[in-house]
Subunit: 278 residues, 2 copies
Amino acid sequence: MTNTHQIAFQGERGAFSEAATVAFFGEQVEPVPCKDFETVFEMVTSGQVNQGVLPIENSLGGSIHRNYDLLLRNEQLYIIGEVQIPIAHQLLALPGVSLADVTTVYSHPQALAQCEHSITKRLPHVTKRIPTYDTAGSAKIIKEQQIKNGAGLASARAAQIYDMNILMTDMQDDSENYTRFVVVGPEPIIPTGEAKTSIVFSVKNVAGVLFKTLAVFALRDIDLTKLESRPLQGKRWQYFFYLDFMGSQYEERCQNALNHLQEITTYFRILGSYPRGV
Amino acid sequence: MTNTHQIAFQGERGAFSEAATVAFFGEQVEPVPCKDFETVFEMVTSGQVNQGVLPIENSLGGSIHRNYDLLLRNEQLYIIGEVQIPIAHQLLALPGVSLADVTTVYSHPQALAQCEHSITKRLPHVTKRIPTYDTAGSAKIIKEQQIKNGAGLASARAAQIYDMNILMTDMQDDSENYTRFVVVGPEPIIPTGEAKTSIVFSVKNVAGVLFKTLAVFALRDIDLTKLESRPLQGKRWQYFFYLDFMGSQYEERCQNALNHLQEITTYFRILGSYPRGV
């Protein structure tokens, strides 16, 4: 590891995960692109980078379940922060290319879907959409192959990195398109100020058990911000629950709640307490 | 519509959804293959078929969120039944092809992943995996293109339909691989015997509201079997909740619970009451 603070993220340079990395850490860190989420976890676990930034939930698409599963599997890592950024898709093209030249739009299938109405309405010359593996990847392809009749849908950051022009801004059909990211590291932190805590647990499959679980928090006026279930492998129709609540595991009220919760769980782990993202 | 009872499902003939259709209705119905989930919903809504069968949850992969979203959107349809079947991947090849001839395995990427360990261990001659759009589609491709050095991973039903041989059974690495399907139709039913009810609702974003929601059921000893959240479009970090409970909406106890629930919901809909699947 160099002296620079290195942060692993999934995707090409200019991906929204890189934008989230910079939004959280600032420009002085070195974002390290990784081919998939597993690699981000491996890079942090092995100490090749300092921390990792992972998308956990999108306001339109819902939870990114793969990362919930990987948080469970990577027991040595802790959530140390969260950050949310707007997913604003810009229409990027090579310098010299104008709107009238663009007949093909390239991007990740989800980005193409999120901009479908805009493409039809605002880009009457476009007759073709080509799916790519990544939003920033669409910019990279256009740059490398010097495609003159195409444009990509990607972040404003991708325009900077690949030295391309933004022909049209905010192509997303729904403006309430946000992604929430978690920052993971090898050491837990003790947050100051307004904090959140993420936990994962499983419970016995008995009547009313989820109600009892939530009572642990409700009886102490602890506010929940998220409850997600994922299948427990090898146990048909049983689940792990991922729960986020307002407060830190180092506050007595929350400690009491977590002790109470462990009276009814069969598996229990604190993923981390961290400052609430804004 | 013909006189035969027609049931829409997603996938090629021989797909696991077709096996689920037959497991629920018996062999006398006519399964109608559809290219995607949306088409299944459309076929039922427009009356082109009698009912539809849709996967809703897999014991390894979790909920099929797309179908939860489509249940919400298709307000004219009701859940009238459920069925779960084991997902057993068989190795299918053309007649005359033996295990020693097989160097390539074709199937849906998820099926290839679910059988990866088995392929490596039990099929030493295999050097190549080719992803296809569908498990049964892999059998169809091998049949149509008369591929002699390849085998597909698909259901036993696909072997019958495409007249292929099963070279090896139960290729899935994890035997607890089950998928639960719901049956949807244009009219609700009144179930007799042990029943389940599925509902969808949203609540005000206030402290303890999910606890109050579950109290509605816990205070009446109504057992929950599933709770799933999906994003509420246009409202950042707010959710629809999909909840299954034991009992029928026509039982007084459950009616009271549902009336009580509507005191705290901002949106509420009963997807259906139906006999519990075995």
